[in-house]
């Protein structure tokens, strides 16, 4: 199989790595860069556990090949905090118990960070009323976070945590 060299900037660190062309961004980050915080729940883009930020936008990294991310800026869960200081989303997940097993949590948090940005950029969602600016209420948060499954059923805590982080 083919191999190719790609350049990825992950959490601010530039890596030039030789990858199997079949490697997903998720597997590249996990297996080659030893950043195992991003999780594989389905490897089919159906669960959101592998969500990362690529050039600031959320992607399911299991569906993106490493070569397609060549030259991009990638932020994983390991890069969300400001060194030892948790991001407000992370802190809210801890304080409001926005998780149980924790396996979907890295993807939830990356997704939530992107939701806050999308919201502040004025992006509507499927439940945003026409001609009205969206308020980031529970209905909006539920809709915007529905690409991230949580089998423990921690959605109530997740919605509360995203809501609190939005106020921070």
């Amino acid at each position: 199989m083919g191999r190719v060299e790609v350049t990825l900037t992950v959490n601010g660190v530039r890596h030039a790595i030789d990858v199997d062309t079949r490697m997903s961004l998720l597997d590249t980050v996990r297996e080659r860069l030893a950043l195992t915080g991003s999780k594989k729940g389905c490897d089919q883009g159906q669960c959101g556990a592998c969500t990362m930020l690529v050039d600031g936008r959320r992607v399911v990294s299991c569906l993106q090949l490493a070569i397609a991310a060549d030259g991009r800026e990638v932020t994983t869960i390991e890069g969300i905090a400001d060194r030892d200081r948790l991001h407000p989303v992370q802190q809210a997940f801890v304080d409001l118990d926005g998780y149980q097993c924790g396996y979907c949590t890295p993807g939830q948090i990356c997704s939530a960070v992107a939701v806050l940005q999308e919201y502040s950029d004025g992006w509507p969602s499927a439940v945003t009323a026409a001609d009205e600016p969206a308020a980031l209420d529970e209905v909006e948060i539920r809709e915007r976070m529905s690409g991230n499954l949580c089998r423990c059923g921690a959605y109530a805590g997740i919605v509360a945590a995203v809501g609190r982080a939005a106020e921070a």
């Binding site: 195992t36 594989k40 669960c47 059923g153 109530a156």
Partner: protein, 699 residues
Amino acid sequence: MTAVGSGRTRLEGHDKVTGAARYAGDVPADGLLHGWPVLATIPRGRITGIDTSAVQAMPGVVAVLHHGNSPRLVEGAGWTDADPNLQLLQDDRIPYAGWPVALVVAETFEQARAAAMALPVKYHAQPWDVTFSAAHPGLYTPDEVNLHQPSETAHGDLDAGLSASAVVLDRTYTTPEEHHNAMEPHAAIAQWVGGRLEVVDSNQGSYAVAQDLAKLFALDLSQVRVRSEHVGGGFGSKATTRPPAVLAAMAATVLCRPVRVVLTRRHMFSLVGYRPPTSQRIRLGAAPDGRLLAYEHLTATQTATTFEYVEPAGVVGKVMYAADALRIGHRVVRLDVPIPKWMRGPGEAPGAFALESAMDELAEKCGIDPIDLRIRNEPAVAPGSGRPFTSRNVVACYLEGAKRFGWYERDPRPGIRREGRWWLGTGMGAATYPGETAPATAAATAEIDGTVTIRITAADIGTGARTALAQIAADALSLPVEWIRMRIADSDFGPAILAGHSFGTASWGLAVDEACKALRARTTGTPTEPITVQVNTAELIQAMGRPERHAFGAQFAEVAVDVLSGEVRVRRLLGVYAIGRVVNPLTARSQLVGGMVWGLSMALHEEAVRDPAFGGHLNANLAGYHYAANADVPDIEVGWVDDPDLANPTGIKGAGEIGIVGVAAAIANAVWHATGIRHRNLPITPARVLATPPEGPRA
């Protein structure tokens, strides 16, 4: 203020939100190899050929293990019963579609996957039967149901009771095949280190997994160590040893290198268990005032040809209601399907859907409020055994729930509330789950810095066990929680019950409490050398016997049914529980809410569909097998009532399973209240709603 009873954020919270928490599939190793199971594509027959030469030259391929070359495993391994799912790659028989026929091992994940896809396997297929039906001619009465409980329970004269009844209800309720689908796919890494087989595995009980591996590979238990520090959900699917640990250990033994085996989502649909479909016929006979004269609960379900697991749906009837005559029975048919296993609330979850739906129908027929009907049939003793309950506070749950939900303001008539195209209704159901205790070993070490280290082979699969046990230890030692160091999920810490059956916190908590009290008796203050005390609660629990100790609850639901699209939206859920002492209100609430989300998901979404033509699933992925996503879940409110019960001295009953029980019935009953249509087959999909539209004008 004591630690127990106050909300504490999780000890591992920081690790979980920063990606530092390491799950089994995250563990690195030098020279790591990747194993990929190749699964049978036919449901019954034999392997006639595996052409390993076709893939051996592919890049990175190190080995292809199959029944012709794999190590021989000792038979008999399994938790309480020998588990045929652990006898992997031992012979050429195919018992079900999705059974492992080979393990491809390669240097990288991509190489293993490519070779597994390319491996030619030839089969001789034999006729198969994968289709469950309550009329299946192969149904028989098993001697026992899950966990060696009797299949049949009866007292009184059922026929006499039914014929003396002014009101008789005879209904059949069905639940489909459901899958756990924990977020973390099952994973294991195995390697030999200094003469020991070291395994990091995704499981709910590392000690039992170590026992199984020792047995399978003819090793002394001291030669095996299994750990599972972080587990990405279990719900029963990781309760006992699953194939990845065995396959990884097998390959690591043959190849003398570390091997990781991670299941794909599709693999999980055949290899880790599932809740089997049920068809439950319920007959209730009542006096005009609703008092039960007769109650019959007959369950038909499926199991595999290789193992008789019988979903014990009738067990709810042994606990819930008094009836002059009672008959509970189970029948099962062996099909060419994977082995069903425990799934959250095994028995109670499907059983309560049927019983609590039937009670709602009876209330309608008798013209009695559903809560009043239940209170009228409160038993003085456990109906199944005739023995007293250690505590029974279900009525308090009904009344507290009714008050908080606004139940008594409800107009009982169905199909009269409209909000545009939405029809609105409310419903309720009762919940019960055993609050049992099982033996565990715990060690407490007084360290020279004044802290205390607790060691116990507990598993925190998201329950909050690690934190709850630290709280229990802190109180037993009169120390701040911050001074307790928790070490869990390592088989070297000794035997302990697995995280299942809502056993965990009550059982491990008792052992931790005993260990800390014993340590306190040995030493006070900070020692000059570490002092360790280890206890095992087996004798203590033996002396406690097996009393009728149960948690209870009341579930309330408000739904809106769109009769144009058939969509059912749950607008509100409330659960009020009697679960003994609540150690950590923050995490206990999350567990109960999570269980209720499962109940909602069971009511409306979940169904694994098997194709009789090829014997496998049509929807073995998370798009086809939908479970509740964030936008499916409404406001959920949880409360609990006082429920003192020191039959376990910790007072804990467990919160892991009761949250799911009764929710599907509460929702189905609310759908009836909204539309006037009874849905007795789960899930209540738009197609089913549209197939039986409510009468009256459409919006």
